[in-house]
Symmetry: C2
Subunit: 204 residues, 2 copies
Amino acid sequence: MSLDHILLGLLRDPATGYDLKNTFSESVRHFWSAELSQIYPTLKRLEQRQMLRSRLEPSPKGPNRRVYTLTAEGRAELLRWLGSGPVVGTERFAYLAQLYFMDAIGDVHQTRAFMTALRAHLSRWLAQLQAVERQVVAMHGDAPERYSDAGFHRFATLRMGIHSIGSKVTWCDETLAAIDRRLQSALPAGAAGPEPERPADSPS
Amino acid sequence: MSLDHILLGLLRDPATGYDLKNTFSESVRHFWSAELSQIYPTLKRLEQRQMLRSRLEPSPKGPNRRVYTLTAEGRAELLRWLGSGPVVGTERFAYLAQLYFMDAIGDVHQTRAFMTALRAHLSRWLAQLQAVERQVVAMHGDAPERYSDAGFHRFATLRMGIHSIGSKVTWCDETLAAIDRRLQSALPAGAAGPEPERPADSPS
DNA sequence: TAGGCCATGTAATGTGTTACATGATTAG
DNA sequence: CTAATCATGTAACACATTACATGGCCTA
């Protein structure tokens, strides 16, 4: 049910489905995303349930826009959701599942390449979040406790992204270091052997 | 498609659907979960695609067990997935969405209560992961680079959970501290007023 | 004898992605 | 003239949860 509530939250300012899609790709994508093909039917359903109202407006560019507005009921439902305590869902990380099974390949160099690629991806992502953070700080100062109410809450969500992705980059580095130690003890001396290494060590 | 591959990975040791469900709730739930009602049809489908083979076996307790085994094709598909580079999906955090919109309530005390509840939840979770880590270290030592191949990879995924959840607890503390600074400047002197406070500060 | 675990599954519903289909306006 | 952006949607499929249905064996 989360998308329903997220749309209600975003629609405290009236908008079209298309606008909302842009909001997702601009301001909200560090914790949620949605495609137009999901947004349009969801808006329709929320209107049927009296949470939203819509009107058609001519657009300066392109076809008519259907602008949605929050109703009193929609606002009440949003507040109910916000007051219901944190909704903690199941985290799913396909790349961790891959790593978990990667011993099946039987070559730690593959794991190393995998972790390097993952680190690159995450650190690019982190840089984006930090760029947004710098913008906000430049605009409103580095004391978030003095931001507007909306600004304060939005900044807090951004900080969680930075903490969380940052910790994953750190984890990549820790893991890469462990891989390198592992590779070194597997090749005790001499040239880089094409032999498959197996430490045959303490198990499980 | 991830569940398919995760089941293939887990089925390097033959198991029943029921066994796999237990594996999810025991060893894998920090990065994935699945219900029996999803596991059974998926196994059936993978068998139709020749990735798995199954046989019925009598069970010591309860009804017959359908034991699934990986085929050569299944193993090849698993390796293909593992070699395809990290699959980084969209992260979705309903509780961040809630926090993002929580200014709608207009009372930062609510945000404080929310963050406190969230912190409690996350720190319980972290404690569980750390308990598992302590077990592993007690059993195999504190030098993961010398674990078995499988042990090394599993330990790495556990470490990511610890880093990631730990960073979120840290973030909760940072945010709670900012909330308290905010509350203090909103109530400059005198008793705890029942008045709604609004700093009316720098916007966005 | 009641409740929990073993063990299998189906049905209904909810959530999310990809592909398809259409068409106007504007900037290069 | 071509591509991008504006703007709306449907259809098919993939993935996931909750509820329902069944029944034997074991322990308290």
